[in-house]
């Protein structure tokens, strides 16, 4: 608020990177493209670091964007504790992933295009986080959807890739529809979209609860389910694995998908006033966590397992939000960014080592061939399973504890979260055993370790996954309280330790089962044996995609083609026009017969016409007074 922190640099640097690489990248040498692409996130990261020393919250305004009558939206960036953490994660992890991509995408023709899109993504994501009003946030919100579309469909010659990109964008749009309605409601009821103004207005009105605020919260949450892949709009995320693996790491693990969580945290002052909305958020979060974890149990593609894992972990974050433990949710967001990005990058390294193979059934024994990848991934697997004192241990625990402390619904959801933790450990260790242990099932003996451009980020992320929790344990809530408020119900003392122990036990159980089933024997049939029907259901992702296709897509297309186009447009409207035209030409055809060319008929009509005229001329005189009277009466 005193001097400018030049927050505008944070999104601008990536945008310049996008323009340079996008317009000129095709002709520039790879080294220059990489340099431009890497300098952008690095520069933004440095600006964020510099800005973090200032007094928060700090807002900067760059003028008006839209001004019509009483509507006034301006370009305002706000840096507070919440956006600071997000920015550090986005630019920091983003930078690491950029470095990784230099190695991973080295042989790709579209190298320049990839980095242009990646920078574009950073531009939109930082805008989203820095935005001081909801409309500016929406710019970033849709923008990251665009970047996601471009990057998922990066290898556009592949139909499955471009299909996946299209699906992602459209499903996101359904969520955006909800977001827009939320914006309209905000505008109609409060006349402003600025977060600070809205917070003030709502705070000034302590009795306002439920009603409109519930509607707003739910609409915004619909947007979040789209962007953050929750039930029912999660279906795009698994397909998004068609994109390059670093993209999955950055966008579909660490940053874009967390936008929904960030948005809920940012607008928490609305959610706080609507217990119904919070319950919905929590229930959907927990349900999604469980649902996705069950699907992840049986997937055979390494990236798909991680995708469903992401959906599941996002569910945890929303569970945290739903019990008003926003800072716990953000804490988990941060730790998740570390270990999930690591998991994806390591998976990329595995895939790279396997020469492009992604099916875990064909992997095995990579422990010795790719040791660094193995060790870093192990750190991540331990972290996500809630291994004591690693990052997720603290963050997951914070959420589960907060859930338990939130009434009877909270306890139920806590239990769901606990079960999910067990499942999480199971499928992660299953992945671990299938990939790294046992006999080498691949026939290609050329598996080798990845270059240092890829391994370096893995190592850094591994350190963060292990130690990242210590950054926030106990202090996270306090740090974020100026923005997010404090949670009133807290678990203390022995209950908290019992919770922790239970969570660790669940994780250990999952590891144990995975060990029994996959370390000794390695076949997918293990799981199938007890319940083949259930297994099929899970393998086919509960047939949700097919269901949506049946209920939404097919009817829409059928309706449009057969009813709207044929019946309404062609038959009814076209028919009406044809009818009118037909009447015109029919009457023309009838009248045409008058011009018969027959002289006698002409003569007859002539005579008749003359007689009629004569009548009208003579009638007044012949019938005299009588017709005059008739005439007068008419007027």
């Amino acid at each position: 608020m005193n001097e400018s922190l030049h927050l505008w640099l944070i999104p601008l640097l990536p945008f310049i990177g996008f323009l340079l690489n996008g317009l000129l990248g095709r002709r520039l040498p790879k080294a220059v493209v990489s340099a431009i692409a890497l300098l952008a996130p690095l520069g933004s990261f440095l600006v964020v670091l510099l800005a973090s020393r200032a007094a928060l919250p700090h807002s900067e305004s760059y003028g008006n964007w839209i001004t019509v009558g009483p509507l006034n939206i301006d370009l305002t960036f706000v840096l507070d504790q919440l956006s600071l953490i997000m920015l550090l994660v986005i630019t920091g992890v983003g930078f690491l992933i950029h470095i990784y991509s230099v190695g991973y995408m080295h042989d790709d023709e579209g190298y320049w295009r990839y980095f242009a899109y990646l920078n574009l993504f950073l531009f939109f994501m930082t805008t989203l986080v820095l935005a001081g009003n909801a409309l500016l946030m929406f710019v970033g919100w849709e923008g990251v959807g665009l970047a996601s579309y471009l990057l998922i469909g990066f290898w556009f010659q592949k139909k499955s890739a471009s299909d996946a990109g299209k699906k992602a964008f459209i499903v996101n749009r359904i969520g955006d529809f909800g977001f827009l309605i939320g914006l309209f409601l905000l505008l109609a009821n409060f006349g402003t979209l600025s977060f600070s103004d809205l917070a003030q207005k709502i705070a000034a009105n302590p009795t306002m609860t439920g009603g409109v605020l519930t509607a707003i919260a739910l609409c915004l949450f619909i947007g979040a389910t789209g962007k953050s892949a929750q039930l029912p709009l999660y279906v795009w995320l698994p397909d998004a694995m068609e994109g390059p693996t670093p993209v999955s790491a950055l966008i579909h693990a660490a940053t874009m998908v967390t936008a929904g969580v960030y948005m809920v945290a940012r607008t928490h002052f609305i959610f706080d006033r609507s217990p119904l909305a919070l319950s919905v958020v929590a229930i959907i979060g927990a349900a999604t966590a469980l649902f996705a974890a069950t699907i992840g149990l049986v997937q055979t593609d390494i990236k798909r397992v991680l995708a469903y894992s992401t959906v599941s972990q996002l569910g945890y974050m929303f569970l945290g939000c739903g019990v008003a433990a926003y800072s716990a949710a953000i804490f988990h967001l941060m730790t998740h960014a570390f270990f999930k990005a690591l998991l994806f990058l390591a998976a990329g390294s595995v895939i790279h080592a396997m020469g492009g193979e992604q099916d875990m059934r064909k992997m095995g024994g990579l422990r010795t061939k790719t040791p660094i990848t193995f060790w870093t991934m192990t750190m991540a697997v331990l972290a996500i399973s809630g291994f004591p004192f690693m990052s997720a241990f603290f963050s997951k625990d914070a959420i589960l504890a907060a859930a338990f402390a939130s009434g009877s619904l909270g306890k139920l959801l806590w239990f769901v979260g606990l079960v999910t933790a067990g499942l999480t450990a199971f499928y992660m260790f299953r992945l671990w055993y299938l990939t790294f242990f046992g006999e080498t099932r691949s026939h290609d003996a050329h598996s080798h370790e990845s270059p240092w451009s890829m391994l370096g980020p893995l190592a850094i992320l591994a350190v963060l996954s292990v130690g990242g929790g210590w950054i926030g344990a106990g202090r996270f809530g306090a740090f974020l309280s100026p923005v997010l408020g404090t949670k009133t119900e807290e678990l203390t003392g022995s209950l908290e330790y019992i919770m922790m122990a239970l969570a660790v036990a669940a994780g250990a159980l999952g590891w144990f089962l995975a060990h029994r089933m996959y370390h000794q024997r390695s076949a997918a049939a293990q799981l199938a044996a007890p319940a083949p029907a259930g297994y099929n259901l899970l393998q086919n992702k509960y047939y949700v995609d097919e269901f949506y296709n049946l209920i939404v897509v097919k009817p829409l297309l059928t309706l449009s083609k057969y009813f709207l186009e044929w019946v309404v447009d062609f038959a009814i409207l076209g028919g009406l026009a044809w009818l009118l035209a037909g009447i015109a030409s029919l009457s023309g055809a009838i009248l045409q017969r008058w011009q018969s060319g027959n002289i006698r008929s002409y003569a007859a009509w002539l005579a008749l016409g003359a007689a009629v005229l004569l009548y009208f001329v003579l009638a007044p005189h012949v019938f005299g007074a009588a017709s005059l009277h008739l005439g007068m009466a008419g007027h």
Partner: protein, 105 residues
Amino acid sequence: MHLSPEVPLVWYLLLSAVLFCLGVVGFLIKRNLITVFMSIELMLNAVNLSFVTFAHQWHDVKGQIFVFFVMVVAAAEAAVGLAIIIAVFRARATLAVDRIDLMKL
């Protein structure tokens, strides 16, 4: 006044009307083009008769002058009309009114 041995005026008018009607009927019914033409002439002359009659009745010479106009027009029309009939006959080799119907849509 003394009874004039003249023909009453009404009879002239009746004659004119009858002639006119004959002309109209002939115009409508006859199948030969020249006969139709003659009927037209008949109509014109019937009108001439009525003009003259009224001119006598009102002692106004304007009616008789108008007869000259009508006669000139009739003559011109006869000339042009007969020329057209000859041209039509040369083209279609028929004078039956019903067969000359090319001027149709």
